[in-house]
Symmetry: C4
Subunit: 292 residues, 4 copies
C-alpha cells in the first residue's frame, strides 16, 4: 500500500505515464502556478498594487510556498524510485544536489530564510527577487532548450577566445581613455575601473551618452574603439551562425550520405564498403565438350 | 448576361487573365491609390499641410473610401466564382474571414465607424492611423514575401527559444536592476515593470540614456547585461543566417546530388539504384569450333 | 605622327601596357593627387587651417583641377581608340555618358560652375563638398570591388524585401508612436514624418536619446519596436552571410567536384559520364591451339 | 657545467619538457605574476587605493620588474640554444626583434625609462598604462588564438574592402552632415573632421546623443546614414560568419571526401585513383586439356 502510493506520487510528479489525466493536470497546475508567481513578484514591486492588494499577494505567496514545499518533500520522498538515486539516504543526498532539486529548494528558501535569520530591508528585497528564480522550475518541462545548449557547448572554445579578446580590448580601451580624458573629466574617468563603464557601453554599441569623451584625442580613440565594437559583434554572431549551420549539416549528413550501391555511410573508410557486384562473367561448360 | 458581367468583374479584380489591358490598368490604379492614401495619412499629420489642404485631404479620403468600398462589395459579390468559396451565403461568409477580405474591410472601416459610434479625439486619431493598414492591401500583389515567411516558419522553434530566453534575461536583468537602483533613483526604477524599459533599451543596444544606472553595483550589473545583449543579437542573426543557407542548399541539392553512374537521386534508398552495368565479358563462339 | 602620339597618350591613360614605366608613374601620380585632394577638402573645413593656409589650398585646387581637366580632355580625345567607342562624334558622346567619364566631369565641375552661375554661400559649400566625389575616380583602379557588387547583386531580391519590410515597420512604428505620444510631447512627435526620426534612430539601435517616449504606453510600444529592430539587423546580416557562403561554394565546386573515374564534373547528368572501364576479361589464344 | 645550467634554464623558460615539475611551476608563477600586475595597474588608478597602499603597489612593481628583467636576460642568454637563433650575436639580435621579445622588453621599459629621460606627468601616466601591455606576455602560453588569426587572414581581402567602403561612407556622411548642419550648430559640426565624430558614433550605432542633427534635412540624411550603418554591421558579420563556416568545411572535407571505392581523396587528380577492382573473370585451365 505504502509502495503503491509512493510509486503513484512518483508517476504524477515525473509525469512518466503517457495517458495519465491527473498527472497532466497536476503538471499544468504547477506550470500555471510558477507563471502566476513570477507575475506576482513583478507586480508586487508596483507600489500602488502592493499597497492595495498586499494581503492578496501575501496569501498567494503562502499558498504557493506551501504547494512548492509539499512538491519538494514529495520529490525527495519518491526520488529513490529512480534507479539513479537508489538508497535510503545516499540516493536522496545525491538527488538534493541535482540542478533541478537545487532550483526547487532555492524557490522556497526566500520564504523561510527571514524567519530564521534577521535581515535588513535590502536583503529582504533581494530575497523577494530571488523568488523570480522559480521560473527555472519550468526548465524541467522544456526539452528543446537542450539542443540550444548543445550549440553553445560545441562552440565553447571559440566563444571563450572571443570573450577573452573582448575583455582585453575593453581593458586597453578603458586604460587608454582614462589616460587621455582623466584631466578634463576627472569625475567620469576617475580610474580605469570607472572608465570601463564607458568602455562596455561603447563596445556593446549601447551608447547611453552619460559618459562621453570630450578631448579631440579622446574622440579619435573613442571612434576607433566604437568601430572595433562592431567586430566584437561580428565574431560571436559569425561563430553562432556557423554553429547552427554545423548542427544542421550534422543532422542532414547522418541521414543522407549513404552509398547507394552498398548502403554503407559515405563517410566510412573504404575498406568497410562492399565491392561492386559484377555479374559472374563466364561459365563455359567444358564438361560437355569432353563428351563430344 | 448577369453571369457574363459577374465573371468579367471577377477577372478584372483577380487579374486572372494574362493579356487583359483593362484588368492590368485597374490593378495599377488600385496600387497607386493605396500608395497615395498612405502618403496622405502621413502628410495629414503635418499640421501646416492639414490646415492648408484640409479639404483636399477630406475629398481624397471620401474618393478613396468610395473606390475601396465598391471594390470590397464587388469582391464580395463575385467571390463565389472561386471554387473555394462556392455557395450563395456560406461561400461569402467563408470569404469574409479570409485575411485579405479582413484587411479590405479594415481599410474602409475607419471612415464609417465614427458615423455610427460617438468617439473622442484620441480614438479618432487612432482610427485615422488605422487607414495606414491599407498598405497591407498591397500584400495581394506581392509574391516574394511568401519565400521570406517560409524561412521564418522553418526556424520557428529556434526563434521561439530565443524569444523565451530573451524574455527571461530581460525579466531577471530588470529585477536585478530594480533591486540595486531603486533606493538611488526611486522615480526611474520605481518597479520591475518600469525597470523593464531600461532593460529593453539596453539589451536591444539602443541606449537612449534617459534611464542609466548610477550606483557602482548598478553599473557593474548594467555592463554584464549590455554584453549579454550582444548575445541576444548574435542568436537570431545566426539562426536566420543558417536558415537562409539551408533554403539555399535545399534548392541546390535537389538539382545536384545525382548518382553519376545510374542517374538516380543520391538520397533515394539503395534498392532503387540501378546496378552498375558491366559489359558482358565473353561470348566464345563454341559452335564455330565444332565445325572445324 | 599624330596617331602615334594619340595612341601613346591612350596607352598611358589606360595603363594598358604591362612594362610601361611612365604609364605606371602617371597613374600613381593621379592616385596620389586624388588622395591629396580629398585630404585637402577635409582639412579646408577646419577654420584655423583655412585662414592660415588659404592660398595654399587655393593654389593646390587650381593645380589639381588643371591636371584633372587635361586628363579629362585627353581621355575624351583618345577614347575612340577603344573599339567600344569608335566614331569621331558618336563614340565620344557614348563615352561621355559612361560612369567613369561622368565622375571625371563631376570632379572638375565644382571649380568651373561658380564662374558661370552666380551662387550663394550654401551652394558654394555644397560644391566644395562635391569635390569629395573625386575619390570615386579611384574606382577605375580598384578591381576587387566588383566581386563585392556581385554578392549584393545576387541577393538583390532578398535585400529588397528586407528594405520594403523595414520601411513598413518604420511607417507603422512611427504612426503608432505619433498617436500615443503626440499629446504629451507635441513638439517632438508633431507629425508622423517627425516621428520617423525617432523610428529610424530606434530601429537602427542608434538611440541618441533626443526623442524618447514618455507615456507608459509609448514606452511599451517603444520596447517592442526596439526589439523588432534587432530583427531588422538579423535579416540583412543573415542574407549577406548566406550570400558570401554561396559565392564561396560556387568557386569551390567548379574546381573540385570531379568524378575521379572519368574526369567529368560530378554535377553533370549521368549520361555524360564515361562508364567504368572494366579490363577485358578474356583473350583465349585459340589460334595457338590450332597449331598443336 | 655552464652548458648544463644554460640548457636547464632554456628548458624551464620554454617549458619544453613534458614532465618538468619546476618548469611548470615557474610558468604558472609567471602567468600569475602577469595577471597580478595587470590587476595592480588597474587598481592603482583608483585614488583611494593608490594613497592607502601606495608603498605596496610600488614594492610589487619593483619586485615584478626585477623578475621580468631577470626573465628577459635569461631568455636572451639562452635563446641561441634554439636552432632558429644560433650564433653568439647574430642569433641574439634576430631574437630581440621577434614579437615576444619586443613585448618582453616593452613590459619592463616603463620602469627604466623615467630614470633615463625626464618626463612630465602625462607621459608618466601613459608609461604606467604601458605596463598593461604585460598582458600580451600571456600570448606565449595561448595557442588557440592562432586559429582565430587564421580566419581573419583568410578573409583579409574582403575585410579590407569593407573597411575601405566603411571609411568612404563615413567620409561622405560626415561631409554631407557638415554642409547641412554647420550653420545651425557651428560648434558641433565645425569641420568635416569634427563631424566624423558624429559619423562614427552613428554608423557604429552607438549613438551617444551628444551630437545630433537638428535641421529637418540633417535628420533625413542622418536617418539614411543610420540605416546604412546596419549594412556596415551586416558585411563584416557575414564575412566572418562565412569565414568560420569555411574553416569548418575545410577540416571536415579533409577527413570525409574519400572515394568509397578506392579510398583516395575525392579532390585528388583522377590519375591517382586506383581503378575499380573487378574480380578476374576467367581462368580456364588450358594446360590440363592438353594432357587429355
Amino acid at each position: 500500500m505504502y509502495h503503491r502510493i509512493k510509486s503513484r506520487v512518483y508517476e504524477i510528479l515525473e509525469n512518466s505515464l503517457q495517458e495519465d489525466g491527473f498527472g497532466k493536470a497536476f503538471n499544468i497546475f504547477i506550470i500555471v502556478l510558477i507563471c502566476l508567481n513570477v507575475t506576482a513578484v513583478v507586480l508586487e514591486t508596483e507600489e500602488s498594487l502592493a499597497s492595495q492588494y498586499g494581503d492578496l499577494f501575501w496569501n498567494f505567496e503562502v499558498f504557493s510556498v506551501a504547494i512548492f514545499s509539499i512538491e519538494y518533500i514529495l520529490r525527495l520522498w519518491t526520488c529513490n524510485l529512480n534507479p539513479e538515486y537508489t538508497g535510503m539516504l545516499r540516493g536522496r543526498i545525491k538527488y538534493i544536489f541535482t540542478p533541478f532539486a537545487i532550483i526547487d529548494l532555492l524557490a522556497i528558501m526566500p520564504f523561510y530564510l527571514p524567519m530564521i535569520l534577521p535581515a535588513d530591508l535590502l536583503i529582504i528585497r533581494a530575497l523577494r527577487l530571488f523568488r523570480l528564480f522559480r521560473i527555472f522550475k519550468l526548465g524541467r518541462y522544456s526539452e528543446s532548450m537542450q539542443t540550444f545548449i548543445n550549440v553553445i557547448n560545441n562552440k565553447k572554445e571559440e566563444l571563450t577566445i572571443t570573450v577573452v579578446m573582448g575583455f582585453l580590448l575593453l581593458l586597453i580601451a578603458s586604460a587608454l581613455m582614462y589616460t587621455v580624458e582623466h584631466d578634463v573629466q576627472p569625475d567620469k574617468f576617475s580610474s580605469i575601473l570607472t572608465s570601463m563603464w564607458w568602455g562596455v557601453i561603447t563596445l556593446a554599441t549601447v551608447g547611453y551618452g552619460d559618459v562621453v569623451p570630450m578631448t579631440p584625442l579622446g574622440k579619435f580613440l573613442g571612434s576607433i574603439i566604437a568601430l572595433l565594437g562592431i567586430g566584437l559583434f561580428a565574431l560571436p554572431t559569425g561563430i553562432m551562425g556557423s554553429g547552427f549551420v554545423e548542427e544542421l549539416h550534422k543532422r542532414k549528413e547522418t541521414e543522407k550520405r549513404i552509398c547507394p550501391h552498398c548502403g554503407k555511410d559515405m563517410d566510412e573508410p573504404p575498406e568497410k564498403h562492399v565491392p561492386i557486384e559484377v555479374p559472374e562473367p563466364l561459365t563455359i561448360k567444358i564438361i560437355e565438350r569432353k563428351n563430344r
